[in-house]
Amino acid sequence: MTDTISLPNSLRSQPDASGHFGQFGGRYVAETLMPLILDLEKVYRAAKADPAFEEEYDYLLKQYVGRPNPLYHAARLTEALRKDAPAGKGAKIYLKREELNHTGAHKINNCIGQALLARRMGKKKVIAETGAGQHGVATATVAALFGMECKIFMGAKDVERQKPNVFRMKLLGAEVIPVTSGSATLKDSMNDALRHWVSNVHDTFYIIGTAAGPHPYPELVRDFQSIIGKEIKTQMMEAEGRLPDMLIAPVGGGSNAIGMFHPFLDDTDVAMIGVEAAGEGLTGKHAASLAGGASGILHGNRTYLLQDEDGQITEAHSISAGLDYPGIGPEHSWLHEIGRVQYMPVTDDEALASFQRLSALEGIIPALESAHAIAAAEQVAPTMDADKIIVVNLSGRGDKDIFTVADALGVEM
């Protein structure tokens, strides 16, 4: 596959002018939305070139979000894995502590950026889709910060599964709209957010929560999340005087992963693993669109999707609500096809085990999403030499997941 695709000089120069990453990406939206996303692209280009925009973004990340967050050497996890590894094996593991951000995940990096864009466009209302409620909470938070009216679309099933986050969003002043259409989960909340947006384009800005959707969303979400990879570069040079050998991140739509990977794409010695949710396993119900899907069009972009032979979207499953989506951001589809990033499936059970192990070994309760990346690191580290370095993106904290995990473990609370 790789040798039939002509690659650009830099892998960091995508997308092209029409928003494509190779054959993926693009702008597959109803005509009503086209003028608006063309406008958004213009506003984003202008903002990118405006030092005042960057200054305000940096200020808020520092003073409001609490960046930079640490790059932490997980010594006990590293040692525990070395004990069972062959002699001389067992890579050194660092954790990028996105879970220490305000609101407890990487989602806020993107929300701050998009809220600044909304304000530049003169929009006073924002909407968002949410699965676990993490992006909903982050959006409600920035809406409060910017004094904007906020509506969050959330699958009725997820409203039931994620009660604490629903209450948080309400406290922050957002209206939470339960979505009963379709399968009543994340993809349906995105459908309803799009339906609301198309009916209110004149005054409403859609804060998409992952690096997917019509161009320019995958690009701008990636750019706002790239702070993760940029900080890792600096922090790793300080800690080790060199770049890491491998980066590992969980992939739902792919925003934390692309934010971590993008600054390193041209560093050919840095290997990367994106971790997809394999749910009950690839032969059962899962959410691994690269491992188990095919190229198609949904939610404004061409990308890998879980679908049947007629192009009907099939339901995803993951114990982690944030990974429970039948698609993936288009840049990941491209990075997968050109072979720059490896994608690896991790099951519910593996993630649950790593959720518990990291909590007990390091005193850090990871989000279930992040636990998928920890599980991948636990599989890969023992195969690598002990002088190699892995960075895992700890994309969020696990407080939101304790009920789900207790339930899965059969614990009465």
């Binding site: 702008r27 597959y28 069009i297 007629d310």
Partner: protein, 271 residues
């Protein structure tokens, strides 16, 4: 002249707008669809829009979304839709048939495959909600080389600067989506529709059809005074939703009322 142009010309000669009716293929079942399509024709529909069901119909309101789910829930496959179309073509050789739907089911086997199937089934045109002019390469070239019309949408947000891009490569007719929104919800003010249609007519010779939110014979008549075609969807789909397998006579009666209102227009103009 092809089937579509012939039909618009015939309506024009009668001094009335064409009545374009939408139902979802396979709603409530594949078996029930032919009788519903026949009812549309018997009621006086000039052009049939046949919806291809999709799991995620982002541009549709609850009425058509539910129709999509009913259809898929009863097992409708893409092969059934082309069989329904081919069957319709055999029974109604002169009534134009347009497939309307979303990109993924249309393109999953490639655009050439889709265009070939359309041609073989006697489909006259295609409306794809989520392939805007910017992504024309996905679908447009294959349809054009198969001689199938690609019907484009113009909306309240399509300004004068953008309109030429929409018209480039559009054929059959131009579908004016009268509200910025989803199907079956709000209804546009008549004055806005009049103004929009006038602007579109100044920009193209294609017939202009107006849809989204048209639910009553009165509304259809008012729009029919200015547009070349009036599209009614959700109101018919609602009848299918409430009457199921037995919907055909109700559909026929309602479509006859719509058609009657458009025809009364022509008498008014003639008088």
């Amino acid at each position: 002249m092809d089937r579509m142009a012939t039909r618009f010309a015939a309506c024009k000669a009668q001094g009335r707008a064409a009545l374009i009716t939408f139902v979802t293929a396979g709603d409530p079942t594949v078996a029930a669809t032919p009788a519903i399509l026949d009812a549309l024709v018997a009621g006086g529909a000039d052009i049939i829009e046949l919806g291809m069901p999709f799991t995620d119909p982002m541009a549709d309101g609850p009425a058509i979304e539910l129709a999509n789910l009913r259809s898929l829930g009863s097992g409708t496959k893409t092969a059934h839709i082309f069989a329904i179309a081919a069957d319709f073509r055999a029974r109604h050789p002169d009534t134009p048939l347009v497939l309307m739907g979303y990109a993924n089911p249309m393109l999953v086997r490639g655009s050439d495959w889709f265009a070939d199937q359309c041609k073989a089934a006697g489909v006259d045109g295609v409306i794809c909600v989520d392939v805007p002019p910017e992504e024309d390469a996905e679908l447009g070239p294959a349809l054009r080389s198969a001689g199938i019309h690609l019907v484009r949408l113009a909306t309240p947000t399509t300004d004068a600067k953008r309109l030429p891009a929409v018209l480039e490569g559009a054929s059959g007719f131009l579908y004016h989506v009268s509200v910025a929104g989803i199907t079956g919800k709000q209804q546009a003010a008549q004055a806005n529709i009049d103004m929009a249609v006038q602007k579109l007519k100044a920009a193209t010779d294609l017939p202009i059809a107006v849809g989204f939110g048209v639910r009553t014979p009165e509304q259809a008549a008012a729009i029919g005074r200015i547009a070349d075609g009036v599209v009614v969807g959700s109101a018919i789909v609602d009848l299918v939703g409430s009457h199921g397998d037995a919907a055909a006579p109700f559909v026929q009666q309602f479509v006859a009322a719509l058609s009657g209102a458009l025809t009364a227009n022509s008498r008014e103009t003639a008088a």
